[in-house]
């Protein structure tokens, strides 16, 4: 994985709470055995009409979505199924971070393991980001080293992230390497018969 230090980008806004992983990528697109190329199915049900015609007003179909690396969405983002296809699809669409007031646990875990940053902020800060939504698309800077998210006007907030995934992401390390290094402890646990 590429190390992640800062993300400086425009952001787009999807002001809906409880966006579930079925909305992020519908199950009918999960009959794949690869992880690549899922971006084309991102928000499929919201992006296009039943006949496949894109809804021009949907935020991800607008020109500003092309360069945005950050999505700001409503509370409890990523609830529902455990499908890792959700962060894979978001990443494949060029997104690198999602900002919300809270995240569903499995989605958050899956995102951190793939280099998609789930940034939880306080409601007031979130409202400010929502209110500033363009066009033109506003900018934001996320600094993983200092755990800060800073808006164009200089307002900033600190976001929570556990030390271990943060360390892995900053250094481009796979969490698996640490786990594979635990072999002796795992052997001992298995021998203890518990």
């Amino acid at each position: 994985m590429e190390p992640i230090r800062t993300i400086a980008s425009t952001y787009i806004v999807l002001p809906i709470d409880n966006i579930d992983t079925d909305v992020i990528i519908p199950a009918r697109f999960l009959k794949v055995t690869e992880r690549g190329g899922l971006g084309r199915y991102l928000f499929a049900g919201w992006r296009c009409a039943a006949d496949g015609t894109p809804h021009p007003d949907f935020v991800l179909n607008r020109p500003e979505a092309r360069t945005a690396r950050v999505l700001v969405a409503g509370d409890n983002f990523g609830c529902g199924s455990s499908r890792e296809h959700a962060p894979w699809a978001l990443l494949d669409s060029g997104l690198r971070a999602v900002v919300s007031t809270s995240f569903a646990s499995i989605f958050r875990n899956n995102s951190l393991k793939n280099g998609l940053l789930p940034i939880a902020v306080e409601p007031a800060f979130h409202r400010k980001m929502m209110a500033a939504a363009g066009p033109p698309a506003p900018t934001v800077t996320i600094d993983l080293e200092t755990r800060t998210i800073t808006l164009a006007d200089g307002t900033s907030a600190v976001f929570p992230i556990e030390p271990f995934p943060r360390y892995c992401l900053l250094n481009g390390l796979d969490e698996l390497s640490f786990l594979l290094g635990q072999e002796e402890a795992i052997d001992a646990y298995e021998r203890s018969g518990s």
Partner: protein, 467 residues
């Protein structure tokens, strides 16, 4: 110090403690695998040239993308979707290459992963169980710590039999009193989610306790624990008791003889100690509950079946949900026309669920405007249901009796709603498009689903049950 059920199971599986800088390394007793969330994980093993550490603690089945259409003359279940066929073939290859036991399509032990684990006696108290599926919380009904993981974590567990995990918080939900007739475990969990919200359990493990929980059968406890994830919880658990032990005795993988006695002694130590502390407690009175139905696009948007769509809170998500459902605030749900009734899924496709549905459908007919799909949770459930003649009840009522699988709960296998269609479904998610693009779902119990199938519209099952 007094400990909770969760504390005991967690602590018994810590290979390496959580530190300031690193998460805990948690041992996994049982890893369940299915065709949809595993192919990319096996690819990671191949890339690294790794083996599966404990094939003996790993079991695979096929359920999500498998057809439930009747068997052909050769006894096989035809897979007509080439993408699904490729995914199914990939699981067969992976299980062969990595020496993992597989209950494949056509096997008499195939079924929804969360139905077969318990019925085989693989799911037992005090275990840690994971699967690349959020409804793994189902297995918590046995006093196991069971939760869904992503595909990268599936690879982690295949390679190391362990997971990196931060210790979740604890939430005890105490259900006092007793459920009235016609009010089921499904109505109980829908009421709980409506009370605490779809994010109400985020970051926590729920322990369901109290007399109303103790009075539930194992199958009913599974229905409750199954939907813990719909409140955002990491897992749901019920302390093991005689109901649990009776269910487990003589299951194919349950311990026997002296091993059973030893296991039983250990299981009896699992329940939460008197005075143990939870991070949060919630209490509900069972006798105040009614059959529930959802009206929106998440499982927390539920009301008693005789109720009305609540006033809008003005939030964009609520407005969007009601527009999608074609409903307006104040509208009564009883009598709303429907097109499909789906009785199935890891929430409500066990024998007890089918028996409940059959009590309503026996001697009655499904309304002409409704398609009824009954999909047993496993081949074993199917066999038992047929031995009791339940299949005939459903067929004679005008319903379809299918092969086992996830079917219309996730709509990956061709069983799906058409755009705009309404379904009363015993599954767990009413998300937009969940049961088919544009399809609209009312979640309910098997009783309510069956009563609605007969009425051709949303119906209160209590009248039919009483008749």
């Amino acid at each position: 110090m007094p400990r909770t059920l969760f504390d005991k199971v967690w602590e018994a599986h810590v290979v390496r403690r959580e530190s300031d800088d690193t998460p805990a390394v948690l041992y996994v007793d049982l890893h369940l695998v299915h065709e949809v969330t595993s192919p990319q994980a096996f690819a990671m093993l191949r890339e690294r040239g790794r083996k599966v550490r404990r094939p003996d603690r790993t079991l695979a089945t096929m359920d999500h993308s498998t057809p439930t259409t009747p068997r052909g003359a050769d006894g096989r279940i035809p897979v007509t979707d080439p993408q699904a066929a490729a995914q199914i073939a990939q699981l067969e290859t992976n299980c062969r290459d990595f020496e993992i036991a597989l209950y494949a399509l056509g096997s008499d032990r195939q079924g929804i992963v969360h139905v077969i684990g318990p019925e085989l006696g693989l799911t037992r108290p005090g275990m840690t169980i994971v699967c690349g599926d959020s409804h793994t919380s189902t297995h918590g009904a046995f006093g196991a710590l069971a939760f869904g993981i992503g595909t990268t974590e599936v690879a982690h567990v295949l390679m190391t039999q362990c997971l990196l995990a931060s210790r979740p918080g604890t939430l005890r939900i105490v259900i006092e009193g007793r459920l009235h007739p016609g009010v089921t475990a499904k109505d109980l969990i829908l009421s709980i989610i409506a009370t605490i919200g779809v994010g109400g359990g985020t970051g926590q493990v729920i322990e369901y306790a109290g007399p109303a929980i103790r009075a539930l059968s194992m199958e009913e406890r599974m229905t409750v624990c199954n939907m813990s994830i719909e409140a955002g919880a990491r897992a749901g658990m019920v302390a093991p008791d005689d109901t649990t032990f009776q269910y487990l005795a003589d299951r194919p993988h349950a311990p026997r003889g002296p091993a059973w006695e030893r296991a039983l002694a250990a299981w009896k130590n699992l329940p939460t100690d008197e005075g143990a502390r939870f991070d949060r407690e919630v209490a509900l009175e069972a006798s105040a509950l009614e059959p529930m139905i959802t009206y929106g696009t998440n499982p927390g948007m539920a009301v008693p079946v005789g109720g009305a769509v609540p006033p809008s809170d003005g939030r964009a998500s609520t407005e969007r949900a009601l527009a999608y459902m074609g409903l307006r605030p104040g509208q009564r749900l009883l009598g709303h026309p429907i097109d499909v009734v789906f009785i199935g899924s890891c929430t409500n496709a066990r024998l007890g669920d089918l028996r409940l549905a059959a009590t309503v459908l026996r001697g009655r007919k499904v309304a002409a405007n409704v398609r009824l799909l009954v999909v047993p949770g496993s081949q074993q459930v199917k066999k038992q249901a047929e031995a009791e003649g339940l299949d005939r009840v459903f067929r004679e009522a005008g319903g379809e009796w299918r092969e086992a699988g996830c079917s219309m709960c996730i709509a990956m296998n061709g069983d799906q709603l058409g755009p705009g269609q309404y379904a009363v479904s015993t599954s767990n998610r009413n998300f937009e498009g969940r049961q088919g693009a544009g399809g609209r779902t009312f979640l309910a119990s098997p009783l309510t689903a069956a009563a609605s199938a007969v009425a051709g519209r949303i119906a209160d099952p209590r009248r039919l049950v009483a008749e």
